[in-house]
């Protein structure tokens, strides 16, 4: 089995910061808004390079979403930055009416998603955001897996005309995708080809799934690992082709079962290709304080959980 080289370690939010700077260099219309979390979102480099295009919005996220909609109306490409919880649930109706229904070209950039936010606890650990955002008609939802992919995704959404939700995280995680990759919105990336089970994963669970596939390989199980960095629009052909080939599937994500990637895949399969399926995710519960590693283990988002889900999915094949 091919080894996936680790190129380094960094947080995905730093990938966002680097991508934002590059997007700003490429296009004068790119502007950035931040609700008092400039350091946490790694937006300092953009602020320093383009002070006249950076807007400090204070702790007032609802206003930030509306101002972004107004800037977009006038032809700017606004990137909003705050934690995922305050980027979605807190301002859902502002996004719904002023951005999604109004079709505004706003990029909602959300850091510290999921339980890996860690010690701050459940008030800040949103696990519902993918669901909230994907339910909005026309909203693109992206959850990249490492620094390089987050940087590439940030540049890609600047060049896409329409509302986008970009979700990334707090902790340092391995870098394993190419630094010069071209990010294609809505195009799944096959990491391992396999024959026995398909693992569809997103965000921090991509690296976990790679490790799971290696563990499964040692048990003689051939797992296909596909990185679904874009949850909406879903790469339906990639999912159906893989499920048809392997005959059983696993979804893996740092999100609730409800509303997440697994839910989108399950709907697709139920309509087109009923297939045994297992879910790695959080089952209808809030998070809590702890280190990211402790929480990933406690909430069953770890390598062993992906392995167990794959074995169970295989056992359900007729």
């Amino acid at each position: 089995m091919q080894e996936i080289a680790i190129l380094g370690s960094n947080d995905t939010r730093s990938g966002f910061g680097a991508g934002l700077l590059e997007a700003g260099q490429q296009n004068d219309n790119v502007v950035a808004l931040c609700a008092d979390l400039t350091g946490s979102l790694k937006m300092d480099a953009f602020k320093k390079a383009f002070p006249e295009r950076f807007f400090q919005m204070g702790i007032a996220e609802a206003n930030m979403m509306g101002v972004a909609a107004g800037l977009a109306t006038a032809g700017k490409i606004p990137f909003t930055g705050t934690f995922a919880n305050f980027s979605t649930g807190r301002v859902y109706d502002q996004i719904r009416q002023s951005i999604a229904y109004s079709g505004k070209n706003v990029k909602i950039c959300a850091s510290h998603a999921g339980v890996t936010l860690g010690e701050d606890g459940a008030t800040h650990q949103i696990l519902e955001d993918i669901g909230l955002m994907k339910m909005l008609p026309g909203m693109v939802v992206i959850n990249p897996c490492d620094y390089n992919q987050t940087k590439a995704a940030t540049i890609a959404i600047a060049n896409y005309d329409g509302p986008c939700y970009l979700r990334f995280g707090r902790p340092k995680v391995p870098i394993f995708t190419a630094p010069d990759q071209v990010f294609e919105i809505g195009k799944a990336v096959t990491i391992y080809e396999g024959a026995d089970v398909s693992i569809f994963c997103t965000g921090h669970l991509v690296w976990k799934s790679i490790q799971a596939a290696q563990a499964l390989n040692e048990k003689g199980i051939s797992a296909e690992v596909i990185n679904i960095h874009t949850i909406k629009p879903l790469d339906e052909m990639a999912v159906l082709n893989s499920a048809r080939k392997t005959g059983c599937v696993v979804s893996a994500e740092e999100h609730m079962y409800n509303g997440g990637l697994g839910d989108s895949i399950a709907q697709l399969l139920a309509r087109n290709l009923p297939t045994p399926m297992e879910f790695v995710g959080v089952n209808d519960t809030f998070g809590e304080s702890g280190t990211p590693d402790q929480l990933m283990a406690k909430y069953h988002l770890d390598v062993v959980d992906v392995v167990a889900a794959a074995e169970k999915a295989i056992s359900r094949k007729k």
Partner: protein, 281 residues
């Protein structure tokens, strides 16, 4: 440039459009629409520099308007049609299936003249602040006008936006608060009062004017003052005293006509009070 009396005549037709639209579909919000008919007429027929024939979403090098209290869509649609954004005949489709004239204004159906969906209250001022910010960035000297309800000020997002616009010194933002002191459930003062509105805005670093929003000459004079005040480098709010239902005697002086349509007999009574000056749609 129409005279004051010509503007009053246009406003009379706008009021006829409002009551006829709401009557035709037996739904909609006549009270606030009638109250703001004079101000929106003045904006679209005299005050604003705008380009009905060449409408673009971006609206560069023209004045922009945001209707934050989107439920008074009948008056908005009427002034848009009457000033040339679309055919007045389309007013007959208001609130009907497959219409561009949705119950609340939206960009979603591509209606010229609308740049943001509104209706869920308290969001328009933030959007307008973003538009004003973009104009400042672009060196565009034009103004962003906002019409909002007074009851709408109970929404917290407005105070975020008021704080922000004051901090950013958005002097190209002129906001009219429809100060009719009524909301769906009754008098604003009984539901959740906000006395000292002038002091509240001034405390957030805004300049405050007051006018009678149902007196065309006062509207025009106050607007001249508002434009001059921009030199002071602050956003401007006009506390616009209006009568809900203004122009139709039996709809005035109460919140009862906030969101109910007239019946056939009431329509006839209303139209009797409103001269047909530009021809009904």
């Amino acid at each position: 440039m129409p005279s004051t009396s010509e503007l009053q005549q246009i406003a009379s037709q706008v009021r006829r459009d409002i009551v006829r639209m709401v009557h035709a579909v037996q739904s909609g919000h006549p009270g606030g629409s009638l109250g703001c008919a004079d101000y929106l007429t003045a904006l679209y027929f005299q005050i604003m520099e705008h380009n009905p024939a060449g409408f673009t979403q971006e609206g560069k090098n023209e004045d922009l308007f945001v209707l934050s209290n989107g439920h008074i869509s009948p008056v908005f649609y009427s002034v848009l049609a009457r000033s040339g954004y679309f055919d007045v005949k389309e007013l007959a489709t208001f609130r009907k299936l497959n219409s561009r004239l949705q119950g609340h204004p939206t960009t979603h159906e591509g209606l010229p003249g609308v740049r943001i969906a509104t209706g869920s209250l308290g969001q328009g001022l933030s959007v307008a602040a973003g538009m004003a910010l973009a104009k400042k960035m672009d060196g565009d000297q034009h103004i962003v006008y906002v019409n909002m309800g007074d009851g709408e000020l109970q929404e917290g997002q407005n105070w975020e936006a008021i704080m922000y616009a004051g901090h950013q010194k958005l002097s190209n933002l002129i906001v009219a608060v429809d100060y009719n002191k009524q909301q769906i459930d009754g008098n604003v003062i009984e539901i959740m009062s906000f006395d000292q509105l002038r002091n509240k805005f001034e405390a957030f670093n805004w300049n405050v004017l007051e006018m009678n929003g149902n007196d065309m000459q006062d509207i025009l004079d106050t607007n001249v003052k508002a434009k001059a005040l921009r030199a002071e480098g602050k956003p401007i709010v006009i506390l616009m005293h209006t009568e809900m239902g203004a122009g139709v005697d039996f709809m005035m002086g109460s919140h009862e006509w906030h969101g109910i349509p007239p019946n056939d007999e009431q329509l006839a009574r209303a139209l009797n009070q409103l001269p047909e000056t530009l021809g009904d749609y």
